[in-house]
Symmetry: C2
Subunit: 190 residues, 2 copies
DNA sequence: AATTGACCATATGGACAATTTGGTCATTTG
DNA sequence: CAAATGACCAAATTGTCCATATGGTCAATT
């Protein structure tokens, strides 16, 4: 089946990207791992970049699903956004593929990887933005520029989880939730 | 006079670092520009790194002074912090030396420059932290972890001024002040 | 005592060859 | 005949010298 071969290729590529990074993975490696000829890859993907892009698109869906799962409709908006953001950042750092891609950008700054991670971040901002819009609609929070707010929320979580650890002891999940509430909640809630 | 020679060297080095970057500047260049022998530099500075470090230390003093100047004791705390942070970020981006060093870190990631810019950021956080502590003392704002708060404020300004422009139209100074007030002020004020 | 530039070990960069790699396509295969 | 393939190619990357440049030292000089 054709779509089965495509899945094999995506699986093999994702596995190799996660283990060796994007640049260090060759199309021949992927072909071998997927048990297909190298040419076959190019019947499904225009280029190596497009293959990476499709993998990351799948990752975005996966992360959104994880974030959605972390939320609970019966809880207040801010608790849910906290859970979603924390889960997203957790995924970003712990998942082999994203962790490797982040490392690759830091260490060698591969352009294609930079692009794809920027896309991932934009998707996360958009995800949060929709939650904010819904909450505004429901009157749970004060109206605001939802895109800037979502953008700042993600930046804040990256700062608290990734950047803060460079010079200090890591903050616990609870501390982060408190800080998030202190700044954003009390700044937004009616 | 000895301190005069030292000043000459610092001046020459700062000028050359700003024009060509840290890595692309040679000690011989600096010596020529300062009208001293290369050996003389090493009677004042242990190494090229230490020379850079001392220049940046001076820069920190200069930026703090600028930030202080931007503030006005008769204005409310948050307006002053906004002015200080905005001025700091403005300096960081417009001043030749800092701009060149930031570019160098982005493009080639020179380790010594990375260190020195991290030190600059830490100094700015510390500067803001003291302002926050003073405001807490005076009862102008609610007590909080001043270091984390200062850290997040700086990160927020960098996000709004530097990162936001990568994908969007720049925000005006007034818009940034409003956003800052929306999140931080209303989250902190009694 | 302060200053200096010749000097040294090492790092850097350029030139060139060898190898690797992303991508193509004529051929094969089921 | 449509899908799959791997030999093949141009371009990029890597490896290897070697010449040069550079950070730092120190004996000679001022």
């Amino acid at each position: 089946m054709a779509s089965d071969r495509k899945r094999q290729i995506i699986e093999a590529a994702a596995q190799s990207f996660a283990a060796f990074g994007y640049k260090a993975t060759t199309m021949e490696q992927i072909a071998k791992l997927a048990n297909v000829g190298k040419g076959t890859i190019y019947t499904f993907f225009k280029s190596k970049e497009e293959l990476l892009d499709e993998i990351v698109s799948g990752l975005i869906v996966e992360i959104k699903a994880e974030a959605e799962l972390a939320m609970d409709p019966s809880l207040p908006f801010f608790e849910n956004v906290h859970r979603a953001l924390y889960r997203i950042l957790e995924f970003r750092q712990r998942h082999q593929l994203t962790a490797k891609l982040l490392q690759e950008v830091r260490n060698i700054g591969t352009a294609a990887v930079q692009e794809v991670l920027a896309k991932l971040d934009r998707a996360m901002v958009e995800f949060i933005r929709q939650k904010i819009d819904a909450a505004v609609e429901k009157g749970e929070i004060r109206p605001c520029n939802s895109e800037i707010t979502a953008f700042l929320m993600l930046k804040t979580y990256i700062a608290l989880i990734v950047d803060w650890e460079k010079d200090h002891e890591p903050l616990t999940k609870e501390q982060i939730a408190e800080l998030f509430a202190l700044y954003f909640l009390q700044g937004l809630s009616k």
